[in-house]
Amino acid sequence: MTDKELIKAIKNNDQQAFKQFVENNQQLVVNICNGFLHNIADAEDITQDVFIEVFLSINKFKEDAKLSTWLYRIAVNKSLNHIRDNKKHKILNSIDNIKDPDKKMEKELPDVNNSQPEKIIEEKERSQILQYSINSLAKNQKIAFTLNKYDELSYKKIAEIMDISLSSVESLIHRAKKNLQRKLFKFYKKN
């Protein structure tokens, strides 16, 4: 089924076509969301929101545009909005943790059944350092880098999603890598 046929079918409330569309794209959307959120449960929730938005606003979509680009753009925006909203939530959570420190400890304890707790803690720490470094990049650098690294999207596809030129994508990814290395270098040099 081509994009045009698929859009037409979804517009006509064809449940089977929508199901097919979800199944074909869910892996990529989850990957995009997880690339930004680094949390599978959150990524799945946002993926649901993304497909719901597609279904609800498909009538506004121009049939000559690329459906996948539109879908990925919604995924990026929803993920970034979730991060923004979560910042407020984190502040409230930190207040809760001050009130109830035992609760905070429970959350942070690693899985005791695992045979290599040290390795798990080390990996978690690495992941946090990387997340922190990626999140501290400029917004456009972060989007371009995440789409390229986590979702393995081509520079051309990223340019379409971000609505910028190919050379801008190249420049953004180059700068993102440079800044990321600087941040990681600083951290590991200190420790």
Partner: protein, 146 residues
């Protein structure tokens, strides 16, 4: 190649973005510089986290959940109470109504309450203020003591 230059290009070396010549130079440097080699390993391990995060299996019930949520949204939009709520009209209307009701109840209670005139003549005699000093002068006590 010097350490500083190697450190600047480590991420590009790991990603394979450098030319063959640059790759070889960095390789050579890493083989004899322990400090840079350690840093290279740390950065490589950090970036490998990305690879670990990629292989996520999607939830097989994702479509079922989306369908359920769409049905809920559809149900809400057909229900008039939820429809008002969705337009974000319900809350301000309710608040305005409660404020108006409060003012109305306050005014009606105020109108029904009998007015009390604050006239001194109506004050009972036992509540009059008695000035003791006028009746018992200090000089009078002094005279008695003598």
């Amino acid at each position: 190649m010097k350490c500083k230059k190697v450190n600047k290009n480590l991420i590009f070396y790991i990603d394979g973005d450098l030319s063959l010549k640059q790759n070889k130079e960095i390789e050579e440097h890493l083989s004899h510089c322990k400090k840079c080699s350690m840093l290279y390993n740390e950065i490589k391990l950090s970036l490998s986290v990305i690879e670990n995060e990629k292989g996520i299996e999607t939830n097989p019930y994702l479509y079922t959940r989306i369908k359920q949520r769409l049905e809920d949204i559809n149900e809400r939009s057909t229900n008039p109470v939820f429809a008002i709520q969705q337009k974000k009209l319900f809350q301000p209307v309710l608040v305005s109504f409660l404020i108006a009701l409060g003012i109305f109840i306050g005014v009606s209670i105020g109108n029904n309450y009998p007015l009390q005139e604050n006239n001194i003549a109506d004050t009972p005699s036992e509540q009059y203020y008695i000035n003791d000093l006028q009746q018992e002068h200090v000089e009078y006590f002094l005279l008695n003591n003598e």
